[in-house]
């Protein structure tokens, strides 16, 4: 999808970034609390979290627009925090683009080159060539003479990207890159940006509050909450093996269940399942989560947990059901494929039977830190029992 532009080989000299123990506090609000993270060469990392989770603070510190209270950031052994934002070589794309409205597209893109000190400034002709090349890369060749106000949101976003790339940054930061776009353009640009990153290979970090965006685009996802990193992992890892109840809720739409651990057993809805992991047994506090897709209708009528169907929505190939399970007043959300739902016909006005295919047990210690995670597959699903924390043991 990325256009075939005259390829001038560019040396983006990608380096690894080592962030360690960053802390930033605004008054009593802790924006970053002991944040450590390594980013590899050419990696595409998403920082995902709700608003106020500290993701933008992290971005601003990396860009040099803010200084942490403590902690360090090294790029290939060089202390990044000691460098002024001007000299960091970090490209930043703002959520609302922050294009210069009084300059044309070409002038916007050329800005980073034109403001260089006299000795380092490329010749006018070279700047012109570089701008043309960049505009070609972001597929805006014909729009060099336009002003930002004459462009669509998606086009402005790509101008902002070209402008940031003009300084040949060693790290590209994107703040909610699609936050101000409408849903259609957003989905199109996601794939485009993913491909674009592949073709450049430049180390990139983008901040988003949109789970789909993060999981679809990034090599690795950093999930943040209240200034802390909850989990770092591939999109598959954070979905399949959420480290904390927060990640489970935020990424996998995990829903709380009224489970209790007594002795060696998890007690849930009047059933008891054996837990193999001793650490869970000793836990101070336990959270039990189930994902919408792990709630399946029982094929045999009368089988499984009794549940009431509160509502049913058909959303483009999938069925979303709201259920109320006996003896539990919180409605549960279940997702099935249209095909599975068609195959199942056991729902009556009285309700239906459901099975929980997998529930995840999080065990927290006295300080509230999760020290053990365990996924229990109730026997009805005839699946192997998986025991955490981060690997599966076939039982």
């Amino acid at each position: 999808m990325v256009a075939n532009c005259a390829p001038t080989p560019k040396d983006y000299r990608n380096m690894g970034i080592e962030i360690s123990r960053l802390r930033r506090q605004f008054g009593t609000f802790v924006a970053l609390d002991d944040v450590s993270l390594s980013i590899g060469d050419g990696e595409f990392v998403a920082v995902l979290g709700p608003s106020g989770s500290g993701k933008t603070s992290l971005l601003r510190i990396l860009a040099g627009l803010d200084q942490p209270d403590s902690g360090s950031v090294f790029r290939d052994g060089q202390n990044l925090l000691a460098l002024d934002a001007r000299r960091r070589g970090v490209g930043l794309v703002f959520q609302h683009y922050a294009l210069f409205p009084h300059m044309t597209v070409a002038q916007n893109v050329a800005f980073g080159l034109r403001v260089r000190p006299w000795r380092l400034r490329p010749k006018a002709q070279m700047i012109k060539t570089a701008v043309e090349e960049l505009l070609c890369k972001v597929e805006l060749e014909g729009l060099a003479g336009r002003y930002p106000s004459q462009l669509s949101g998606g086009q402005r976003q790509r101008v902002a990207l070209a402008r940031a790339l003009a300084i040949e940054p060693r790290l590209l930061l994107l703040d909610e890159p699609f936050g101000a776009l409408d849903a259609q353009v957003r989905v199109t640009l996601r794939g485009w940006l993913r491909e674009f990153h592949r073709s450049l290979g430049i180390t990139s970090l983008f901040v988003t509050h949109d789970q789909d965006e993060a999981l679809e685009m990034a090599d690795r996802v950093v999930v943040m909450n209240r200034g802390r990193i909850e989990q770092v992992g591939t999109p598959e890892q954070v979905y399949r093996q959420p480290a904390t109840p927060f990640v489970s809720r935020f990424i996998a739409r995990g829903q709380s269940l009224p489970g209790e651990v007594r002795g060696q057993h998890l007690h849930l809805f009047g059933h008891a399942w054996r837990i193999e992991n001793p650490a869970v047994v000793d836990a101070h506090e336990v959270a039990v989560h189930v994902r919408p897709e792990d709630i399946v209708p029982a094929v045999t009528p009368g089988d499984g947990l009794k549940a009431q169907l509160l509502s049913l929505r058909h959303v483009a190939g999938s069925v979303r059901a709201s259920l109320r399970v006996e003896n539990w007043d919180q409605p549960l959300e279940a997702h099935w494929s249209e095909r599975d739902w068609a195959r199942y016909s056991g729902a009556t006005d009285d309700g239906l039977g459901i099975h929980l295919q997998a529930v995840t047990v999080f065990a927290a210690d006295r300080e509230g830190r999760v020290h053990m995670r365990s996924t229990v597959h109730p026997p009805s699903a005839s699946a192997p029992v998986a025991v955490g924390p981060w690997r599966r043991i076939e039982a």
Binding site: L99, H102, G112
Partner: protein, 299 residues
């Protein structure tokens, strides 16, 4: 519908006019009458208070013929007053421009303790009587003032001299540029400046290439207002000037003195001052007309 609302609101022409704002389609005739009446009232007040006196100045100034008019203006003391007024404005306005931009920049881009206080302080000259401003200057810089004797020892006379006139004018016109820029720059935020910074621009480059182009018309507007006020300032300048003809009399003071001796000459000089003001207003209107969109904070 308008009449129904009119009745509901208790009737009366004012209510009818209010109703006219919300009515759709052709309004009922009481509403139309109220509308015309309100516009006429506004025009009448403006006509009697502003247009008529302005015309009167020029009529009075030219009553004894053009020759007399030119002679009155060519009077050496008057020419000195013109020169002084222009000099004071030429010093005070750039000073306030720099101050206004600096104040607006810090209000828009920095978070600091006492920011709201700075905002209130900038507005202070709007609410204090200019005479008080002048008195304060005498208190500080006058012969027996806190700094006056020390300054005199350095051979620098502030009060009853040019520096005092400049100080008084700067003080009175302090808010004009800053007040024009602060809301605009605050609404624009810091994103573009930060973008420029990450692209490698220096502080001056950011200011001249990013910030200034975006606020230039508001800045010009503020400077014009500031200039009009600086040239017309009377109260504060009156207190610190000492009224030495040909030396410390600015145009407004010259008009004041002349009006006690030679009424026609006073009007001739006053017409000069009015002309300067009208000119400024004309440029201001032109700026508003051409760049009105940019003056509003939502750009």
């Amino acid at each position: 519908m308008a009449t129904a609302l009119d009745a509901a609101l208790g009737g009366g022409p004012l209510m009818a006019a209010v109703a006219a704002v919300v009515s759709i389609g052709r309004p009922a005739w009481p509403t139309r009458i109220a509308r015309v009446a309100l516009v006429l009232a506004a025009l009448t007040v403006l006509g009697w208070l502003m247009v008529l006196p302005l015309l009167a100045i020029f009529a009075e100034a030219l009553r004894h013929g053009l020759a007399f008019y030119l002679q009155a203006i060519r009077e050496p003391d008057t020419l000195a007053a013109v020169r002084l007024t222009l000099t004071v404005a030429a010093i005070a306005v750039p000073l306030n421009m720099v101050f206004g931009v600096a104040a607006a920049w810090s209000m828009a881009h920095f978070e600091f303790r006492g920011k709201t206080w700075l905002g209130a302080l900038i507005d202070l000259p709007f609410s204090i009587s200019p005479v008080v401003c002048g008195m304060v200057l005498i208190l500080v810089y006058g012969k027996d003032g806190w700094l006056g004797s020390w300054l005199e020892a350095q051979g620098l006379q502030v009060i009853f001299a040019m520096p005092g006139l400049v100080l008084a004018t700067v003080l009175v016109t302090l808010p004009y540029v800053a007040r024009e820029l602060i809301p605009l720059m605050q609404a624009q935020g810091s994103d573009q400046e930060e973008a420029a910074l990450t692209l490698g621009a220096s502080g001056w480059q950011i200011f001249f290439r990013v910030t200034l182009p975006r606020v230039r018309w508001a800045l010009l507007y503020g400077v014009l207002l500031c200039n009009a006020r600086a040239m017309g300032e009377f109260g504060a300048v009156y207190v610190v000037s000492g009224h030495l003809r040909g030396l410390t009399n600015t145009l407004p003071l010259q008009v004041d003195q002349l009006s006690q001796e030679n009424f026609s000459a006073a009007f001739a000089v006053a017409s000069l001052l009015a002309l300067l003001t009208v000119l400024t207003l004309g440029i201001k209107r032109l700026v508003e007309w051409r760049h009105g969109g940019e003056l509003r904070a939502n750009t």
